[in-house]
Symmetry: C2
Subunit: 217 residues, 2 copies
Amino acid sequence: MPRAKKPAEDPPGRDREATERRFVEAAARVLARDGAAGLGVNAIATEAGADKKLIYRYFGGLDGVLEALGAATGVWIGDLAPTPTNAKARSDYGARMLAAFTAYAEKLRGDLVLQKLLAWELAGPSDALGRIDTARSRQMGKMMHAIRGDAVPPAGVDAPAINAIALAALNYLVLRGATTGSFAGLPLKTEADWKRATTALESLLAAAYEKNRWRKL
Amino acid sequence: MPRAKKPAEDPPGRDREATERRFVEAAARVLARDGAAGLGVNAIATEAGADKKLIYRYFGGLDGVLEALGAATGVWIGDLAPTPTNAKARSDYGARMLAAFTAYAEKLRGDLVLQKLLAWELAGPSDALGRIDTARSRQMGKMMHAIRGDAVPPAGVDAPAINAIALAALNYLVLRGATTGSFAGLPLKTEADWKRATTALESLLAAAYEKNRWRKL
DNA sequence: TCCGTATGTCACTACACGGTGACATACGCT
DNA sequence: AGCGTATGTCACCGTGTAGTGACATACGGA
């Protein structure tokens, strides 16, 4: 099983660290290209141009590679703390959330690996998935905390629930945009499509986080 | 390959229609239990307690079974036209939408097959999926049209985009509830959890569909 | 220099799956 | 009753995959 159809990069040389990196990067490429279904030791080894035996030697099996992949992925999620320009935006809870969410969505749209990971997550509980997931969900929580910062949500609104709904919608729409290209009649291909979607989300969040609006009822 | 570990139901007897039904129902059970990954001719035949050869004879292959499964599934989606009690609710666009969405979410939460189908859809384009999907997406459009009815959305709001966002959030939350049991810190297990989520969605939609609210800006 | 070990290579087994040909049997039509 | 065909059963092949044992080779320390 020498370097097969995909030479990927230059000859491995006799370097364990480099080889391990090759495997993890190969796993990411395979996952981005073929999804969770195509993620196996054979595919990864072929993509990395190395022998699968080394996967068992260095990672103890497929799970180890996925674990390393999970550690490598999703680090950017924790770095989404927004830096609002003016003081008003800094203290406006809704504006902060919206800015962070749109930034998150844009990043996610460009991250094929994370997309497949999210889709995989919805396919059902898997022993292999657990390894990847834990690290990422921790980062997710960290992101939520960093975004909030010192801003406080208006009283009377269930901010965690509303934020979860917004995030859920974004995740789903990005995934659908990547596969079918639209959802429920809403196109999700061009940049203009996404501008429209985020504008609609903005109107939802702005209305919900409007201060004191619940007194009016 | 006689009746294997899963006898499912009584002896097949020599009845083609009944056998075909067995296969489709078996496919639904396998999909609900093991997801798209476990959906294969061997698994379906074993679950149905019949021989896989008959799958090829009667359905031409796995695709035929999935097509039949798609036709059977998703029929209820078209029957979600709400019947508002009072005249106000009938004409209130936001209320109509919210009622339909919550009803849809509740149905979806109980439909394991449709859940796996939605998750499958997000895993990437698949030749097999196309067969199932088309019929269902048509039903989806019909639902949206039936819900709207004679009510018209307030001017100045992008109703299709907002509705898509709401539906996307519900789909994602239901899927996450079925797998991880929570999302972004929002628990999605108990009935109370879902009450909380739908209440938050209600606040979002009510605020967005409030008449003339955009004049205030 | 020589030897031990880490690194890499290859061949092989065991297994599950999709798919098909050959056979057995029960039903219905004439 | 006899026969043709639909229905059901079984054995088999080719393929792709996970995983392992055996071997080759380069590097580094005694």
